[in-house]
Symmetry: C2
């Protein structure tokens, strides 16, 4: 018999609501012989206001003991922009070396998209998670004066780029279409761009079966709305990945259904799974949030832990549920979670 | 009587074709008493291959004498990525202090959009043009080795941010809806983000009539496809502006109709007007390029030179022409230019 020891971080805003439904579906899908243990951690705005802490060394030590982490959302208007993002979310991604930020986009039948003509969308973005302009390098001089200068430094290493590019090639190789697009801006960001492009081309030579293309990030946004069916696997840096995955979510059913995994492939640290959406304080506590993105993140979590059949069952269940929504009245957060839990068990 | 002394840079690929049509329409719209003088400059791939030069000090001195610059497109696959972009286009934008990169987006009646439901789109992006990650700061160590590190430094100054933010507020103030959105990523890029946000809020206090909002760049891509009608004026940094204006072009009729101005508001240096699209080598020389984006860039040029009525006549002409395209066979580059020239004169 197996067991899953899960750290649960509901976080702020709608985080608590959607995580509750994610756990409901997780419990329902697991076979009898898999024991689920969960431990809840109270990170986010409340803890920050009470203690001034976002994520301590002791917190990291505790989280490290778990098999995986399920996160709702972190962020609240009462906390200055950047404090929880840098002090909790990014700190955790960096501390646990979550270098593969995995974000699948699939437009399921019956799901609304802002695009005309219901295109076929089924791709996955492999976003680098530990480098780029996200490292916190940079600074400010003469702050608040007319002579202020603020810098942000994007840091890119061959080590960091190669491992995520290899991960993306392996994923492309395993998919029927075997296509991989590199997204960067190598005509302007020539230092980082050349590193990414050189590494990409070098690894491509080892994967003759994978069809590759390069695309500037600005052009990629055009293709994402005019020819999204063109994409199979995308690999890109941390910031470009942040931008294109929100756009990808928007065209493939909205951030209500966009899942993500912050993955440490070696298993040295636990991986973390979270919806792409934020804490949405404007609708928090009213049962209005769609828990589907969290439920799909639970599927990514199960696949990461080797429970592929259970992951697929959640994904099929969500597809069926979404397909039946058209023309029906909106359901509450827990109604959606209940429906998915019943269906996935059944 | 007045005169316009115009530097014309056809450039590479489809640049020559679209610029020819832009000039055709420009000649047709100008009143008799405005004399047009043009001087053509041969920049781009051909010159680079022949001489190794992209843009010399003498070139800049020559260009500086003109009232304005009309550019087609620069870039060719025979030149390594970045050489012409950094060595010509960005060098010119920086040398002539084109800090207001103006990019209007308007979905005209009858024009196809990838979005469902033909939304009302009419906004303008004020993209900073001389700072951010475009400055060429950064570098590479241990190039080509497994220990390579490549950095890109985004440089942001209070001076540079304030002048473009003020320009955007003035534009918002002059428009009926008086709305201005700042797009950045201040929750991650906290050094630059705080500078942008502080300056924006300070200038906002002087413009009580302008309704402002802040939006992360990732969220902005979602709104651009789900609620594009929400935008009136957008101000943003060089890189985010590059990305959101391509997406904006895609949803409001495509890059075949997206115009831009690289503006030096003080008039110390000539401003440059160019279509947002690139040199499109795949369709070059075949009369397939749509010159509309260049023609609309000519309208921006005229407005910049104070010829507002002529600018409006071009815009109305383009709107009428686009509205009549539906269901008609595609026309060649020169057929479209001819039709616009006849109509604008008439
Ligand atoms: C909240 C923010 C720091 C985060 C990011 O930029 O990575 C979010 O946008 C995401 O995509 O997970
Ligand atoms: C060609 C490239 C350097 C340029 C840019 O990034 O500014 C282009 O994409 C644009 O938007 O004008």
């Amino acid at each position: 018999s197996r067991s899953i020891d899960l750290a649960v971080i509901p976080g702020d805003g709608i985080g608590r609501e959607v995580v509750a439904e994610g756990l409901k579906v997780l419990s329902a899908v697991l076979p009898q012989d898999v024991k689920l243990e969960t431990k809840e951690y109270d990170f986010g705005a409340r803890r920050y206001h009470a203690t001034g802490e976002t994520l301590t060394d002791a917190d990291l030590e505790a989280l490290k003991q778990h098999d995986a982490i399920l996160l709702g959302a972190i962020g609240d208007p009462s906390v200055p922009s950047g404090v929880l993002e840098r002090g909790f979310l990014l700190k955790l991604r960096f501390a646990f070396d979550h270098h593969v930020n995995l974000r699948p986009s699939k437009l399921l039948p019956g799901v609304a998209t802002p695009l005309a003509g219901q295109p076929e969308i089924d791709f996955v973005v492999v976003r680098e998670g530990t480098e780029g302009p996200y490292t916190g390098n940079g600074g400010t001089i003469r702050k608040g004066t007319p002579h202020e200068v603020a810098t942000e430094v994007s840091v890119n290493t061959a080590y960091g780029v190669e491992r995520v590019v290899r991960d993306a090639f392996a994923r492309a190789q395993a998919r029927p279409r075997k296509k991989l697009a590199l997204i960067h801006k190598n005509n302007v960001l020539t230092f980082a761009g050349h590193l990414w492009t050189d590494v990409f081309n070098r690894v491509a030579a080892e994967h003759p079966e994978v069809t590759t293309e390069y695309m500037h990030v600005d052009a990629a946004t055009i293709y994402l709305v005019t020819q999204p069916e063109r994409f199979d696997v995308i690999v890109t840096d941390n910031l470009f990945g942040d931008i294109v995955t929100d756009l990808a979510a928007a065209v493939s059913g909205g951030i209500g259904v966009a899942a993500s995994g912050n993955i440490n492939p070696s298993g040295e640290f636990p991986s973390m799974f979270e919806p792409v959406h934020g804490s949405a304080p404007d609708i928090a506590g009213r049962g209005k949030a769609d828990p589907t993105a969290t439920v799909l993140s639970v599927a990514l979590l199960l696949r990461h832990l080797g429970l592929d059949a259970e992951a697929a069952r959640i994904e099929d269940t969500v597809a069926a549920d979404l397909g039946e929504r058209v023309g029906k009245p909106a359901r509450s957060t827990s109604e959606i979670g209940d429906a998915l839990a019943v269906r996935v068990a059944g």
